[in-house]
Symmetry: C2
Subunit: 223 residues, 2 copies
């Protein structure tokens, strides 16, 4: 009885949008790849209209870009882009964490604490997948608890633009512990109800992330 509710059929353009997005995140489409309306339409055995709409939406999200000849490519962040995106994320997330430090409920603080301790045990067991997941959750919880839907949306969009690099988060010199320490400091500041400190710690933590990422990218480029 599916809760007495029938699901509205999901229109093609939405399904296509989701699928393309997943393919970008999964690396099926790689940065710089060109996409063709007709080809995608043929592949799904539908007309070009829904495909066009899906592409338009993804262009607006920034995951696809259109050149002056209306050709569509998968977004490929330049180094400058990466810096700019991080700058924006720091701005938004540090605001979020300050809000959380001010008004988080006790229960919410407990949730953060639990995520942290789960994270610690994942590190001990060396479960990379789990670690990445919990780290993401920590950030997500903070954004959620800031209770600002628009901020959440903006951060998510920014994150998806560097999603391409998400594998690199945990690589590098002793990253798991460094990240854990960063999160721990942030949590501590929240628990102390110290917005400025929380904000500051998050800025430092994110800066670490950026620096690590840029280092790894440079290494890759040299090889």
């Amino acid at each position: 009885m599916n809760q007495g509710m029938l699901q509205k059929a999901i229109p093609y353009y939405e399904q296509v949008q989701q699928t393309i997005k997943e393919r970008i995140f999964n690396g099926v489409y790689e940065p710089g790849d060109r996409l063709y309306e007709v080809q995608i339409a043929r592949e799904f055995a539908i007309s070009r209209s829904p495909v066009r709409e899906a592409i338009r939406t993804l262009i607006n999200e920034g995951l696809l870009i259109m050149d002056d000849k209306s050709q569509i490519y998968v977004y490929e962040p330049s180094l400058k882009d990466v810096y700019e995106i991080y700058e924006c994320r720091v701005a938004l997330e540090s605001t979020a964490v300050a809000l959380v430090a001010q008004k988080a409920s006790e229960d919410q603080i407990l949730q953060l604490e639990k995520t942290l301790s789960d994270s610690a045990s994942a590190i001990k067991k060396g479960e990379k997948e789990e670690m990445a997941c919990l780290n993401a959750k920590f950030h997500e919880l903070i954004i959620d608890f800031s209770d600002n839907m628009r901020l959440k949306k903006l951060v998510n969009e920014l994150k998806s633009l560097t999603n391409y690099y998400r594998f690199l988060n945990l690589e590098g010199e002793d990253r798991p512990n460094v990240i854990y320490k960063g999160h721990f400091d942030i949590f501590q500041a929240i628990k102390e109800r110290n917005p400025e400190k929380a904000s500051q710690k998050l800025k430092e933590h994110t800066h670490d992330d950026l620096e690590n990422l840029v280092n790894l990218l440079n290494h890759k480029r040299e090889r």
Copy 2:
């Protein structure tokens, strides 16, 4: 010889997008109004396809919203939305101004100063139109000088969402002078190369704006 360059014909969907946006800003379409693809297509004597694409784009920008029945309405910010948008703007703009305080060139600082003094004389002459324009310019310069395209784009999108209320900026108790003072303090901090102070002053200034706006909205609502 038009600089030897021919302009590519602007596609319909872009023109329509621009037109709809202007109409929203000019109040031709009011918040909450429903829009119809067919009607707009008929009006411009074109097919629905370009209209659909224009609408999709505007939905992604947030100026139009689509309900669960695929009906299109002009975005009508709730009070909570207004707060959230301002929170995001403060986050981004205060970051921008801190960057400017760090790395603005002397010439850029002069531009800010000139805008301020123009603003002062506009106040003396009571030129409301000019005042609004210069105030906007002040903020825009700061964003530009922060040299972060993505930040600029985000702020512009957020601003357009409350564009509906732009008339109210200058109404209220002695607003022009309060705003001028706010901008002056920000400028001062930039000139002193004091990022924290600049950031702080901008936060206070924007908070004033928000408070004033909310007051006026409440008054309106009571009447």
